[in-house]
């Protein structure tokens, strides 16, 4: 960027606009910095978990006690608890969220869609402790009859029946925890899918309608294919929140250590995150290492699930591009 002489400036237009160049470079630099910060933070978390947690994998048996003797025995029930509650939450929340998002974006008239969207967003602002309180002291009791009904009616069925064994008399089961989680992750999934649904190009929607598609057929032909990637992102964010949720699970679930298929059992393994929150105060240095190690396991599992989902979505898109 040498300053052109007055003579040169007069002779020809200034092709190299220095001003725009600087602005562009500042913007590109800050965008790059922001991107790298995220990667650095992620790497930092991973390094912390790995360094602090490494020794947690191989502690003497009594550290893992009283219910387990090795790290594997300690973490597997927690992992099962984490994923059971999260999967129940997803099974309930995903169809509901997609439905609500679709109603808001494509079915309801504007005067009703806007307030509904607003109320759903408000759900996200409620602190998880409040959900925990509500779940533990209100919802659990109300769900006791449902637990009994499930046990009586679905319990005798051969394979599925394993899920509905002896019911929890207070209703504080994994199922209840999953339902509370479902309500908590509903707003985030709804908000994101609503946004991607409403971005479907009008041109595509009209193409479907003009072919004689009903509204639902139009949604299947144009909205879902267009939004697929965003829908997966939304579910992943919801799952992330469900996996990491501590308070709601801690407060709702009556914690046990026995692994079983029974999702309405008297006691069930808690989640990794809830377990960390519970044990953090009464920690010994050894136990802290173990807790961090369980955190590392959760971190890696979340990563894995995310990659898997991305890969599945990407696969169908790659097939199209061939």
């Amino acid at each position: 960027m040498t300053a052109p002489t007055a003579e040169a400036e007069e002779a020809s237009a200034n092709w190299a606009s220095a001003r725009a160049g600087v602005g562009d470079r500042i913007f590109a630099g800050s965008a790059l910095a922001a991107g790298l910060t995220i990667l650095a933070a992620l790497a930092g978390v991973f390094v912390f978990l790995a360094v602090k947690g490494a020794s947690g994998f191989t502690k003497p048996a009594e550290v893992y006690g009283p219910h387990a003797e090795s790290f594997l025995g300690y973490v597997v029930p927690l992992l099962v608890g984490t994923f059971t509650a999260s999967i129940i939450a997803l099974i309930i929340a995903v169809p509901l969220s997609f439905g609500i998002a679709l109603v808001i974006s494509h079915y309801a008239p504007r005067w009703i869609a806007a307030p509904v969207a607003y109320v759903i967003d408000l759900l996200a602002a409620v602190p998880s402790v409040v959900y925990g309180l509500w779940g533990a002291f209100f919802l659990a009791k109300k769900l006791v009859p449902m637990h009994e009904w499930l046990h009586e009616n679905l319990g005798p069925i051969p394979v599925v029946g394993n899920l509905f064994g002896e019911p929890n008399p207070a209703g504080r089961s994994v199922l209840t925890a999953g339902i509370v989680l479902a309500i908590m992750i509903l707003p985030i999934i709804t908000a994101i899918t609503r946004e991607v649904f409403s971005r479907t190009p009008r041109l595509h929607e009209e193409a479907a309608l003009a072919l004689g598609a009903t509204r639902w057929e139009m949604v299947r032909m144009t909205v879902f294919p267009y939004a697929r990637s965003g829908m997966v992102s939304a579910v992943m964010l919801g799952l992330g929140r469900a996996l990491g949720e501590t308070m709601a699970v801690t407060m709702v679930l009556s914690v046990g250590f026995d692994l079983s298929w029974n999702i309405i059992a008297t006691s069930s393994p808690t989640s990794i995150a809830a377990n960390i929150a519970l044990k953090y105060k009464e920690r010994s240095a050894d136990l802290l290492n173990v807790l961090v190690a369980t955190g590392l396991v959760l971190f890696l599992m979340t990563f894995l699930v995310n990659f898997l989902a991305r890969w599945i979505v990407g696969r169908s898109e790659r097939r199209m591009a061939k």
């Binding site: 595509h204 003009a210 072919l211 004689g212 598609a213 294919p225």
Partner: protein
């Protein structure tokens, strides 16, 4: 909805339009249109931007009401049936009245093959592979696209050039064998060679379908159409209306209305 299942012989139908007013909410966009669109002919609508010709076209297959608050008054009768009668299903109307849009809009996630079949799959559900192949070839041949794409039917429709995409959209529209084909400025996003390909196609298609085309290009209206309707605004902010509807030859040689002549000859004011 038997009409969606039954396979009827393709037969071009005429359209009788009487006293049609078209609204966007409270705003009257097009006022008092009366015309008879002949079966098996090409009818072109010309007029300045914003005069309501596209709006009117979209009322012919009930696509206008897709916009919230939009509605139509009056009668549009096809084959003895008023499209705007109470118990008429707009979905069934759109089955019989196909549409091609201003910008090519193949479904981005579908292959060429699936794009052509998209409308049929809606109506007939599962089809035999051989029957489907037949429809795809017939429609693509009908749209003059077959030789260009026959070796890559499983590639995405978005990979084609603009003109090919538009012909794919025409193939998609004629695959369901509608009675009437509406075209909303189908060449405005295309280069002259693609435009000429589509115009040739319109000539071939008019044996089977009643074609209604909106165009900004007066030479195009003169080249492809048998009848022409000239739409204009009475004044800025006033609703659009049909100024004149006549055979294209007469329209371009000796129009009834002085404002038509002014518009066609380029002395518009």
């Amino acid at each position: 909805m038997t009409s969606r299942v039954q396979k009827e012989a393709v037969m071009a139908k005429s359209i009788d339009v009487s006293d049609v007013n078209i609204y966007y909410g409270d705003f009257l966009a097009v006022e008092g249109v009366n015309m008879t669109i002949r079966a098996g002919a090409v009818t072109a609508f010309i007029g300045p931007s914003g005069c309501g010709k596209s709006t009117f076209l979209r009322s012919l297959n009930r696509m206008h009401e897709v916009i919230p608050g939009a509605r139509v008054e009056g009668k549009i009768v096809v084959d003895g049936q008023d499209l705007y009668e109470q118990d008429v299903d707009p979905v069934a109307v759109r089955r019989q009245v196909g549409m091609v849009f201003q910008r090519p809009n193949p479904f981005p996630t579908m292959s060429i093959y699936d794009n052509v079949l998209a409308g049929l799959k809606l109506n007939a559900g599962k089809m035999k592979r051989s029957a489907a192949d037949e429809v795809v070839e017939k429609s693509l041949r009908g749209a003059n696209l077959w030789t260009e794409v026959k070796d890559r039917l499983n590639k995405p429709g978005m990979g084609l050039s603009g003109g090919q995409q538009q012909r794919l959209c025409i193939a998609r529209a004629i695959a369901v064998e509608p009675q009437i084909l509406l075209m909303d400025e189908p060449c405005s996003a295309l280069d002259p060679i693609s435009t000429s390909a589509i115009e040739d196609l319109i000539h071939e298609l008019k044996d089977e379908f009643t074609i209604v085309i909106v165009t900004h290009n007066m030479q195009q209206a003169a080249r492809v159409s048998d009848d022409t309707g000239f739409f204009n605004l009475k004044a800025t902010g006033e609703p659009g209306h049909l100024v004149e509807f006549n055979p294209t030859k007469k329209m371009f040689a000796n129009p009834d209305d002085p404002s038509t002549e002014a518009y066609i000859s380029g002395r518009f004011g």
